[in-house]
């Protein structure tokens, strides 16, 4: 599966379009990480726990998007976009979407 955020796959031609595919996940932070983050909020700097959590979620969202694309019979997803929305306090939705295509 080829993923790209360009409109076509470089070096290949698109032979068929399958429409929009998407994958999303909603994650909550857990207490242990929250305590560490609370401490980090005083001293400043990177919140490694949250960075990890969000990048795991993003991988999961991408994986779900790829599953949907595979089910449609595609072998690539072009024009991929990411978006993050904090829904309620302490939870975030991560969304990945793109256009499923077949390339040669």
């Amino acid at each position: 599966m080829i993923l790209t955020n360009l409109e076509q796959v470089p070096g290949k031609t698109i032979v068929e379009h399958y429409g929009l595919v998407q994958g999303s996940t909603i994650r909550a932070k857990h207490v242990g990480r929250d305590i560490m983050a609370g401490f980090k909020n005083i001293v400043g700097g990177e919140l490694k726990g949250y960075t990890e959590l969000l990048s795991e979620s993003r991988d999961e969202a991408i994986r779900r998007m790829m599953e949907q694309a595979t089910a449609a019979g595609a072998n690539a997803v072009v024009n991929v976009r990411f978006s993050t929305a904090s829904i309620t306090q302490g939870a975030a939705e991560i969304l990945a979407y793109g256009t499923a295509v077949k390339v040669q």
Binding site: V9, P10, N41, V43, F82
Partner: protein
């Protein structure tokens, strides 16, 4: 008593925040020097037209928070209004770090095209003041040319 604790935290945060910022900038500058040879462009078209061997989507993300001292400064700033200078380095650091992580995700790439940067504030569950941690994500397509 509460006042003393708060004051102590502000002093502590001033030093730790400054230390964290300086050491982070040092590491950012060192890594940027190494990766500057590989350009990251926001254009969709290719600056160099050549046969492409491999392309893949890469991203890098980082969650950064501002220290307590700067948040207190921010509270004062909200009385008078104006630019919040103390927050600018936070976002600058985050953005440069995210871009570096994106580049590090594809070490053998020749160019990164269609790079996008996105910022979202992650609400803190136990505080009202929500812009204290921010997630920054950089993503783009890593291209390797045929040699």
């Amino acid at each position: 008593m509460e006042f003393i604790i708060a004051f102590g935290l502000i002093i502590l945060a001033f030093f730790t925040g400054r230390y964290a910022e300086n050491s982070h900038y040092k590491s950012i500058r060192a890594r940027e020097q190494k990766l500057n040879a590989v350009p990251a462009v926001s254009a969709r078209s290719f600056p160099i037209e050549a046969p492409v061997e491999h392309s893949e989507l890469v991203y890098g993300s980082v969650v950064v928070s501002v220290d307590y001292f700067k948040r207190v400064l921010m509270a004062f700033r909200q009385i008078f209004g104006g630019e919040i200078k103390s927050y600018a380095p936070l976002l600058d650091r985050g953005r440069r770090e995210a871009l570096l992580r994106m580049k590090e995700a594809a070490p053998d790439a020749d160019i990164f095209v269609n790079c996008r940067l996105e910022t979202s504030s992650i609400a803190n569950s136990n505080r009202q003041n929500s812009l204290s941690c921010v997630e920054i994500i950089a993503y783009g397509t890593a291209i390797r040319y045929k040699k």
